[in-house]
């Protein structure tokens, strides 16, 4: 397939009216970007550059990414929360020679990068800026790791391999994502909006959820995506009723039956779909039957061009959506010699369906027996009084470790704490091997989330 830069897609007609990128405080008509620029006439200076896209606002980042694809040699996507102390290492490893930013509060000039370009949502007409034809490298950071995140190399081709634009591009679709679009899950939605015709409502890390939901309602969001943790927070807000999406998508964490059922009850008109994707392996599959787990037939053929297999307990993906390599550190390849990328997400086959049981590196050893915290959480979350739970190891002199659970109850639950604790333990005893039953159940008012929208697991 010939290389097609992202901006070129803006020339495709879409039915049903004008399309927008909506930030928290500004909106941009995509049509204006066809022959205009957010970069103040400096796009030409970025031709062939290695660009660090470091903006506070997701809107300016989205505009820069659309413009720079095909022009820059390489661009590095920094999420809102990216730790500034890692920047010098990133700049050195990636060979950054330009920064695109909307942030004048930080002194980026101390970083020693020669070219600084300002990006704004005020699009200036610029007939000279045509899409370039370079195969730009898109560099994403892996999520959920400590220390300096790894940099993963993609192209527009790998990032969009699971997106099949239909012949009837519909401008009336309004995408929205709770993710930061500079992370894999959110970036998929930006690319869908650009390729598939439609608008996109961007999130903002500083925006209270109640206001964000009101904004999604006012802009008529139809296709809304986030992690199960994002969605559980939505389920806890009365403003969840401000929007009425027709399509609800969960990815990035295990979608258990409770969160799927709760979303179906909240948005009865919506198709509730959960999907698997990772920064390194790309999109794996999606499940549309409103049940947790994945039909074995979907693993055999996910219908999106990817090849999947479960080997040594973990899901492996071979697909045009795989990232090609890690950047730096000897440019380690991601795929094994057989061409499959190991996701390290562990699955178990039960009655013709695969279920995620947890991450390979997160296994707790209880007296020599293995426990995945997530498989215990999935059982606890089935209790009707439970909103969400976090299972983690606690050191123990007799078995080395035990698993213990922190549980957030639903609002309006009359908490007879001891009775509920016993019910939850009974539920686990009925469903799990003994060593997997939490030795302790504590009720907590809330659980912490990481910037990537997932439950924070500091113990891992």
């Amino acid at each position: 397939m010939p290389h097609r830069p992202l901006r070129d897609w803006l020339n495709e007609p879409a039915n049903g009216g004008e399309r927008f990128l909506h930030g928290r405080s500004a909106s941009v008509a995509l049509a204006d970007l066809r022959d205009g620029s957010s970069l103040g006439g400096d796009l030409a200076a970025l031709d062939g550059a290695c660009v660090l896209v470091l903006t506070r606002d997701q809107l300016t980042a989205a505009l820069a990414l659309i413009e720079l694809d095909g022009v820059a040699r390489r661009m590095i996507l920094c999420p809102a929360d990216f730790a500034r102390e890692h920047l010098p290492v990133v700049i050195a490893k990636a060979g950054v020679d330009a920064i695109v930013t909307d942030d004048d509060t930080h002194d980026l000039h101390t970083l020693g990068v020669p070219l600084h370009v300002t990006c704004t949502p005020a699009i200036a007409p610029d007939a000279a800026t045509q899409p370039g034809s370079r195969q730009t490298e898109w560099i994403l950071f892996t999520s959920g790791t400590t220390g300096i995140p790894k940099m993963v190399v993609h192209t527009v081709e790998s990032l969009t391999s699971a997106i099949k634009p239909g012949p009837r591009r519909d401008a009336r679709i309004v995408w929205a994502t709770f993710y930061d679009i500079r992370r894999y899950g959110g970036l998929q939605i930006l690319l869908r909006a650009v390729l598939d015709g439609g608008s996109l409502v961007l999130s903002d890390a500083a925006e209270p959820l109640a206001e964000h939901l009101a904004r999604l309602g006012a802009l008529g969001a139809t296709h809304v995506t986030g992690t199960p943790s994002h969605w559980r927070r939505v389920l806890m807000r009365p403003e969840a009723h401000a929007m009425a999406p027709g399509y609800v998508r969960l990815s990035g964490e295990i979608a258990d039956q409770a969160v799927l059922d709760n979303l179906h009850a909240l948005y009865p008109q919506a198709r509730v779909v959960h999907a698997f994707a990772s920064t390194e392996a790309g999109v794996g599959f999606e499940v549309a039957d409103a049940r947790e787990g994945v039909p074995a037939g979907t693993i055999d053929d996910p219908g999106n061009g990817a090849k999947l297999k479960v080997e040594d307990g973990s899901l492996r993906i071979s697909s045009p959506g795989n990232a090609s390599r890690y950047l730096g550190d000897g440019d380690l390849p991601l795929a094994a010699p057989d061409g499959f990328v190991d996701t390290n997400d562990m699955m178990e086959l039960r009655d013709g369906r695969y279920y995620f049981v947890g991450r390979r590196g997160r296994i707790v050893n209880v007296g020599g027996l293995k426990v995945h915290p997530e498989e215990v959480e999935a059982i606890i979350n089935r209790h009707p009084a439970v909103r969400v739970s976090l299972v983690h190891p606690r050191r123990n002199a007799i078995t080395g470790s035990v698993v213990v659970a922190d549980v957030v109850l639903r609002e309006h639950v009359d908490a007879d704490a001891e009775g509920l604790r016993r019910e939850i333990v009974e539920l686990c005893i009925g469903q799990l091997a003994r060593h997997k039953v939490p030795a302790s159940v504590r009720f907590v008012p809330s659980l912490a989330f990481s910037a990537s929208g997932k439950l924070a697991r500091h113990y891992a």
């Binding site: 007296g367 123990n396 002199a397 504590r442």
Partner: protein
């Protein structure tokens, strides 16, 4: 409640949950003859930590494992002032 009573009532509770039948509890009952297996003891220690706010076995690495219920009670009694 005395430490002895706290520990014994928590043992009853764990036994009930784990569907184990517990021998009549007395100070000189050897723990491994009580009907508890090691997982039951692990759960007991975790529960007592929730209740008392400390786990004597992780406070000091050299705490030797008790043989009888009386030993177990003393381990908790000895650790209590240090933790308080």
């Amino acid at each position: 409640m005395t430490m002895k009573l706290t520990i014994m009532s928590e043992m009853q509770r764990v036994a009930e949950e784990q569907h184990k039948s517990l021998a009549p509890l007395s100070e000189d009952l050897v723990l491994l003859d009580s009907g508890f297996d090691s997982l039951c003891f692990a759960v007991l220690v975790a529960r007592l930590e929730d209740k008392l706010g400390f786990d004597p076995f992780t406070i000091a690495d050299d705490t030797s494992l008790p043989l009888t219920i009386g030993d177990l009670v003393r381990v908790y009694e000895n650790a209590a002032p240090a933790a308080a």
